[in-house]
Point group: C2
Chain length 320, copies 2
């Protein structure tokens, strides 16, 4: 499975519920990562680990359950910016642990293995891999509110969390992506998979970065496994998050069919063998199929892991 | 004032209570400092700042009042050592702030000024200065419990906190001390002082390091201000802490008069104009005076800031 963010973590719960005995490798987006207060924060890896380990705050969809915010309040009392990023006390320990282990010379995949051991247990059938061990960060171009028609790049987290995705996203860039390599195990996991699932995560900032790591797109195009993608846009709006604010910046309409075309069919040079859209978007399925992309239409709302498992099983039956 | 640790912070409360309008510079020991979980921890600076700012846990004598330990418990859950050093959630924010500011290129004195602004306000009459901006750490030689007559060096904090000062301290070393310089402002503060007070802090690990920073001893010997030292050993035992475990390692008896001789009189090549001992040690005063060290005898138990202020005022009257 490829994914990230809250959508990815809801989806992974469905995969586990639907295929509890399957060997599952989750390749996780790391382009949302950010260094704050000197601590390396990997929101998507953490959301995924907390979800699989039962530590997630299920209401918020990110961070730890029963969280408190005492350290953050102290940092603010010291006048230390940024105060806009939510760093809970329990969550902070993960960032301290990761930063300590990275400073000791471990790669991000090694650190992820050490940290997620607590959340995943030592089940050899379940692995979280960062998409890459190299540092890559998504930045968004906005109009600078202080200047007339001045533009500036802000880190994705600043755009998303601090600015609530309110400014128009003029462009997206992925700093460092050209020099990244897939993390150890990613290429092999895709090559030897029986099935590849692309989560209904944000196509611009969650799935996009994974596909842009040099080598991963090729792995997807050459694997013998069917590749199934799931739409996160339902009836013209994102089911979670604010993907509608970012799709225009990469020239893709806020529409499930448009995202499907953006990923593309394998036969047509893309990565998908099957694109799964919600029933709300069924009207565009026929046209999409005519363009060469296999489409399945079903309810895609991830109300419970079981509901998610249900539509995943349905999609899998269509290709296996 | 020169000092460190819990004794130093009790003493500074007395100085403030006794001389609320005085311009006070506290030169603080930093040889207890340690890096844990990638965070730079300066226990003496923090104890002093929390005490002056009303944030200290007065029962424990260190760390923050109303403290919790959620982050520490998480770090332990990740299996990250060391778990033996008490890192409260509120306290941890100070370490994160300091580490962030140090990494941004600020010196320890600058960081201390930024952090203590919160605790001291912006009162220009009150300053905390680290003894040095350079890294120096006290280490203690012990018999390695795993080997026969094998010896090893452990960081002072490991000896003190983890091993509860139980192993015999065979020797003390101050890693890096020869290459340190006094922090900016230290030499001038001593040179221009009206009065220098040496707190009844641990002579081996709190006052010792300050006197060993090249230049500070000379500053004390050449200042026109009277230098008054206060004994932390009362009736042959430390009033706080475990100085009795460390004095033998530097060849000094666990005795107030012996510590006074160790600091020495200025006329005899040491740093003191007056040595203040508790009434419990009055019997050795006459002999000490004959050896050339001026001695005052009074009650030295720091029950309250007012009681401490009282004995400080009494000592000051003897020299000014």
């Amino acid at each position: 499975m490829l994914g990230g963010g809250v959508g990815g973590s809801r989806f992974v719960s469905g995969v586990r519920a639907g295929y509890p005995d399957a060997e599952l490798t989750v390749v996780v987006n790391t382009a949302d990562d950010i260094t704050l207060h000197g601590l390396r924060i990997c929101p998507d890896l953490d959301t995924m680990a907390y979800t699989l380990g039962g530590g997630i705050d299920t209401d918020r969809g990110w961070g730890r359950a029963a969280e408190t915010w005492r350290v953050s309040a102290e940092l603010a009392a010291y006048g230390l910016e940024p105060a806009w990023f939510g760093l809970g006390d329990l969550d902070l320990a993960t960032h301290i642990a990761r930063t300590q282990l990275l400073a000791a010379g471990h790669s991000l995949s090694e650190v992820t293995r050490l940290i997620t051991a607590r959340w995943l247990g030592h089940d050899p059938r379940l692995r979280l891999l960062p998409m890459t061990d190299d540092v890559v960060e998504t930045e968004v171009m906005i109009f600078d509110p202080s200047g007339e028609n001045e533009r500036r790049w802000v880190h994705f987290q600043e755009y998303w969390v601090r600015l609530h995705a309110e400014p128009e996203a003029l462009a997206i860039r992925r700093t460092g992506i050209d020099h990244t390599r897939p993390a150890p195990g990613v290429a092999k996991a895709i090559a030897t998979a029986d099935l590849v699932l692309i989560a209904p995560s944000n196509p611009v900032v969650s799935i996009g970065p994974i596909l842009e790591v040099p080598g991963i797109r090729d792995s997807l195009r050459t694997t013998s496994a069917p590749v199934i993608g799931f739409a996160g846009i339902l009836g013209g709006a994102p089911v979670l998050g604010m993907a509608d604010r970012l799709l225009p910046a990469i020239g893709v309409a806020v529409d499930a069919a448009a995202v499907g075309r953006h990923y593309g069919s394998r036969v047509g040079g893309g990565v998908l063998d099957l694109w799964v859209m919600d029933t709300a978007d069924g009207a565009s399925a026929a046209e999409l199929e005519r363009s060469g992309l296999n489409v399945a239409v079903t309810g895609l709302i991830m109300t419970t892991p079981e509901a998610t498992a249900e539509f995943i099983r349905l999609a899998v039956k269509a290709v296996v």
